[in-house]
Amino acid sequence: MTETAGAGRPTRPVRRRHRRAPVLEGPARASAHVCQAASCLSASSDQILDALAEQVTEAGLTDVAVKRVGCLGLCAAGPLVQVPESGRLFDRVRPDDLGGLVEELQAVTPGTTPAPPLPFFARQVRVATEHSGQVDPEDLDDYRARGGYRALETALHSMTPAEVTDQVVRSGLRGRGGAGYPTGLKWTTVAKAPGAQKYVICNADEGDPGAFMDRSVLESDPHRVLEGMAIAGYAVGASRGYVYCRAEYPLATARLKTAIRLAGRAGLLGADIADTPFEFHVELRLGAGAFVCGEETALIASIQGGRGTPRPRPPYPAVSGLWRSPTLINNVETFANIAPIIRNGGDWYAGIGTPSSKGTKVFALAGRVVNTGLVEVPMGITLREIVYDIGGGMVDGRPFKAVQTGGASGGCIPAQYLDMPVDYESLKEVGSIMGSGGMIVMDDTACMVDVARYFMDFCREESCGKCIPCRVGTTQLHTLLTSICEGDATLDALERLERLSDMVKHTSLCGLGQSAPNPVFSTLRYFREEYLAHVQDRTCPAGVCPVGNREEVLG
């Protein structure tokens, strides 16, 4: 559904934080942050919020706040409740067993030194997710109390658009959607492009299988994204913005809608923002399940109400995009980094990370690792630190085999590169990409040929069909990979696989087709012996593929 913000500015009171939340008398002595993001919600954390509020009220704790917050990060151990004053994190909480939590809330005294954070949190540096798990995603006042929208006000009141862009350039921020194009450069191009009407689009069509960073940011701190978009609008001279979000994310869209409405009412979106002549209207547009719409020209076609098929570039959307007007498209996480960059200065942001990849990156850590969840780390951290220190190592102590980054456009990185720094260049060098931030850890139960086939199946289904190399090529590649998995292929299939992959990579119209063969290249490069085992010995070393015995395989 679409909400246009800022049509009028009635002063209706903002909805109560929570129906059954106890009424606080004065500042809170202790608080309970109950995670209400998708992962914990699916484990009934809404019941925990209600039950805890009730029990706190019953216990007469009038100085304890029970609060709905976004993602606390450690999704594997949900539902999670955090008591920030004591630093304790309660995991796997059950609504019928809240005694310990209430006791903790009773025991907290002012001036308590919080316990040191768990290793999962200790290595993280939070910028884009700094308020995730702390701020109530449906409460504008709470966001403002943490400095929210101050960056927008600073920009509007005391900076010129060029100065804003300059800070983004200095920050060295690169597009977090996957390609890593310098954000400041993109902003400069759009700002310079001639045109009376310009647009800002937030790409929230997070389609990579295994990636849920954007969903989490939108569910946990939606105002931060809107603030980033408004600052971008001011910098490039746009008065309208669109958030293009996946329809598969009902909670994220609901919270975005609420945020757009509240910000509009408070005069932070719409006309005359913060008592300046700047106006910026944001509309939400829902995707409808097409991976290719993450590609910017396809996304624009979809916002215009058509089939999401890409077109050749140039012209780039920065010059001719939505309704042929100059259009700035950035990803959710990119926009989430803007407010802190304006607040603290571009140089501060540039001080984090490595010389070529500055700042932090949010990763969705999933797969066969103990601590699955959402992590934000400084660029340049090693894969080993992410998988073992933050991720807590492998499930059941099984051997590490590979980590897959970049989704269907990325690759599998083997154990020999565990000590490699995570940055745009290093990942590219080993045949993968940063991608949007999905990081899937695999152990010896994963067959790499099967993984390649899985991703090719994905690309084959998601190919929009416009250009032949992608439409036909991915289907042929999938057939080849399937025949290898089923033990029907001979050695020359590998050579055909490589030749065809190369052709699809170089002749496809858009990023989907151009990067579709990446999982094949990287698995062939590092796990060739597994391919050979399938075609020569007719065995699957991981015991996944039905080599020789044909049972139904997913796909």
């Binding site: 484990a43 969903r215 409808a288 850590l365 066969r368």
Partner: protein, 163 residues
Amino acid sequence: MAVATAMPPAPSDDKRWRIVETRMRRLGQRPDALIEVLHAAQEAFGYLDTQTMEFVARSLGVPLSKVYGVATFYSYFTLKPQGEHACVVCTGTACYINGAGGIVAAVGRGLGVRPGETTADGKLSLLTARCLGSCSLAPAMILDGEVRGKLTADAVVAELGAL
């Protein structure tokens, strides 16, 4: 933007048409509102039939071929009526390596329904999705709008069978 043209009469006096009409009016009957309107129509009726697509086409001033093209391009839209319950099994990477394939196969064996199909008694539609974004709950599914995680094939078959 474009001046709203007169809305053609709704195909029947089914009250759900009003939801679709309201949506179109609020979006100014703009042709580019097509996807938004199809979302509203599918939410109201559960699927998009020819009559719905014709009505939307006339109301927005868009050729029927384009409406059909859009409705069939996006996997979220369905042109067939769905079962009483909808089960979407995630086949994203994290779920896949945690055994989503086994779940789909087990449901197929146990309930005789393949992805994209509805059981003969109209009770259950089985769908698959490319990542629900609940990777830390892998393998996961959405049953009637509710996310369920850390599934096992047997438990899923038992739960769906008891619907």
